[in-house]
Symmetry: C2
């Protein structure tokens, strides 16, 4: 079991231990009946006092997550686990707990596993909005002509033809690249991971937006990075705060989603993009420009990419295609220059020796055809309609205490609730109605703020969105009403 402690965090050490163990239990990393390390062992392992550990264990025991048995030790108790679910029968793997791991507190995957009736938590694209039939026909044609695609490893860097096709595609979006500067990845998640494994180690400083994309938080945590955060306003990362941070802490990497920021939807203007590059230059650090969906704009085309403004090889640009085409192929690319690129290429070799050739060849005919641009037009139109449904329902039904930002593109609406509401708890109520959203806490790398939530409008159709958002509004209204009632009660 790996417990992360941040000594300079605002949260007490006891709370950090408590949350870390709870996360392990919730994400099913710790099984029923497993023995936890003794208080003495754990305090030694993570270097905190005995009292700190005792307090964390007490809280977990009070809440029914663990049991202490006199003279035997402390054991996991998942109160809601049925005996019947213990599939592995009588075999005990208790010894495995002694194997320390390097896993970060992973929040992200949890919200992607249980499919609910109305799934507003993940920003996948409705398969009905994707050109499956066309793709299928073109794959058939490609494989009939060249079945050997199935029997060859591709280049580690990625298929040359695809890299060439991506150069052309990216050119249309003001992203200047060359086939030599492109590395094909398994989605942009792998892109983030490659950068982290190459350049981030224990204690290295990474600057992230708060809130930000949860999948990136997990990766940097997993490398033992010290994560510092910069708040986001309607123009994205607050550059005024970034300069000081960089002067003081000399980060190695600044991670940003400048266009249709995830989760807020903010778009960073060109001026700020330049300012960040200036800061990167003076600090000699790298910038990861994560671009999952700049194609999906509802009004006008967003500003030029940061990599197009970069003269000195500071930007590592990541483009995942899964939000616009063939998530079943999981194609992404990474663009960078100089030795930074070469080192990332070496990391890709270690990670998986290159992405599958089949998925790379599969998308080339479509992405190079005129249909691609038509498809994007249709996708923008369809998603704008869905966004508008969400905004309309929110205007009509949300409590007056709730506010949101109108996204001019992307896949999400970000809601701000009164600070005394906790969306981790409200999610449980939503799940009772078979609805999921992403609780805001998941998106904060350090101090988890609980009074936000993200609604993704890309996966569900209009009637589902209508029903889902109405139900969320009801849940919020009930929670607010009950709090007001409580506050005005003479007994409190």
């Amino acid at each position: 079991m790996h417990i992360e402690i941040q000594r300079n965090a605002d949260i007490s050490l006891t709370k950090q231990i408590y949350h870390s163990i709870l996360d392990h239990i919730r994400s099913d990393l710790l099984e029923e009946d497993l023995q936890l390390p003794s208080v003495r062992e754990l305090s030694k392992q993570i270097g905190v006092s005995l009292v700190t550990v005792v307090k964390a264990y007490q809280k977990l025991e009070q809440e029914g997550y663990i049991t202490s048995v006199q003279g035997k030790g402390t054991f996991i108790r998942k109160t809601n686990i049925k005996e019947a679910e213990k599939k592995e029968g009588a075999i005990s793997y208790d010894w495995q707990l002694s194997i320390q791991d390097y896993l970060p507190r992973s929040q992200f995957a949890r919200f992607h596993q249980v499919p609910e009736k109305i799934h507003l938590s993940s920003s996948m694209i409705d398969p009905g909005l994707l050109p499956n039939r066309y793709l299928e026909q073109e794959i058939h044609k490609m494989l009939s002509e060249n079945p050997k695609v199935l029997s060859q490893y591709g280049e580690i860097q990625g298929d040359k033809e695809l890299r060439q096709a991506m150069v052309e595609y990216l050119k249309r979006m003001d992203v200047p690249t060359t086939p030599d500067n492109i590395l094909v990845t398994s989605g942009s998640q792998q892109g983030i991971d490659l950068v982290a494994r190459t350049f981030v180690g224990p204690g290295d400083v990474v600057v992230m937006e708060a809130p930000t994309y949860p999948g990136a938080i997990d990766v940097f945590r997993g490398r033992g990075a010290t994560i510092l955060t910069v708040p986001v306003d309607s123009d994205g990362m607050r550059v005024d705060l970034l300069q000081n941070l960089c002067d003081k802490y000399k980060p190695k990497i600044i991670y940003t989603v400048p266009t249709f920021h995830n989760p807020t939807g903010a778009v960073m203007p060109t001026k700020r993009r330049r300012q960040i590059l200036e800061i990167a230059k003076s600090t000699q650090c790298l910038v990861i420009e994560d671009d999952p969906c700049s194609e999906i704009y509802f009004e006008r085309k967003p500003p030029a990419s940061m990599i197009s403004l970069d003269q000195d090889g500071h930007v590592i640009y990541l483009k995942g295609l899964s939000k616009i085409l063939a998530p079943g192929c999981r194609i992404g690319i990474l663009a960078a220059s100089g030795s930074i690129f070469k080192r990332l290429l070496a990391a890709k070799a270690n990670a998986d020796l290159g992405s599958p050739l089949l998925t790379q060849k599969a998308i080339i005919p479509f992405i190079t055809s005129k249909r691609m641009m038509d498809h994007l037009k249709k996708l923008r139109t369809a998603l704008k309609i869905r966004r508008d449904v969400v905004l309309e329902i929110l205007s009509q039904h949300s409590p007056k205490e709730v506010s949101w930002f109108v996204p001019k593109g992307g896949l999400n609406v970000w809601l701000t609730l009164p600070f005394w509401l906790n969306t981790d708890h409200l999610l449980l109520e939503a799940k009772n109605e078979q609805i999921t959203f992403l609780p805001g806490s998941t998106c904060f790398p350090t101090n988890q703020e609980n009074h936000y939530l993200r609604i993704s409008f890309s996966y569900m159709n209009e009637p589902q969105l209508e029903q889902g958002v109405k139900t969320i509004c009801n849940i919020l209204q009930l929670a607010i009403d009950s709090k007001i009632k409580q506050d005005s009660s003479p007994y409190f």
Copy 2:
């Protein structure tokens, strides 16, 4: 630039620095004209004396790899780089060198990049031996019936139908698994990487065979592991030496290729497999059983897998399919149990959110059909013929000083040369004849032994093998003759 120093190694620190920089230059991670850190900086960075660094730089300068310019610094000089090859023109990315990375000395990828006329260095399968047409037709059928495969993320753990199919397939090979214990990976390279990123950190001890699979060396180095090695005999890892090592150093992981060991071809008998498991149990460590090609046996079926003998969840079993089916799909699986499995699943989420659904669905119809077993039969026959060609040519043409092990399966023949021959140098001569082999040094995790080489017989057809192996025999004969002549010369 990341320089690894092992203080308890048999090689001097100067030599380690020298080799590390040279590796970076050779694998193109350092570009022409890049400025190296000053002697003072580097000595501080890696914690060695000034003299040690000065000596390493002097050696590199003598050999023409770097130049010191009075008052300016030390710069990379690739003597054989032509001016014309400097593609990135006048732009200088010198500042990037200040970004420290965590890359291991990667030897592996180098030998997979330059396609030579006769490619005996990599154990890919000749596409002509793989059922591309059948696969292609079945993919067409699958996608016509279910085009939505293209537009969906699969489960992080891997497609359920594929996991079920793999359970059935593995059962035939005495590998007991359940769909819940299987994780689909992007080749077994990713399997190794997932285990390493989850359980191996700086200073953790990993035991490997020497020689072993180079791709695994790079991964464990990349995690900062302390690698200890155990020699291999005709029965695989020398278990008699393993026990002491484990008692003394408490490894976290033992990595082994027990069946048709890469590169030697050795098969570990059941008794040794059990002994390793006993040692793992008493040491409370994990065993990675890497199984790239137990299907490819030429005489009788190899002994049962280690995971089939394991009662307590010590074994993490890796099966890559790329050596037997559709390397263009890069499908592998990992099987493990208990919390070890769950933690690996969480690591997979961080790495890439799951393998592409298309490649997983693509192989299901074939792998579950009767054709799969027929295909394996044919593959075994074809590869046995190729192995026999190599062995025949070796018997007829190799110098009497060269010996080899007759592999009873797998894809490689491992040659032992007189200790005073260096296959790193001989490879250059082979490349002049447009032939590649894998120099043995690549396969040694710690003390690189230079008088071995690996010939893969899976990628080339019989006439190519004949020509290639004959040429290698000639090169060896010439090197031996010239040494004998030199030794008997009155002037030396």
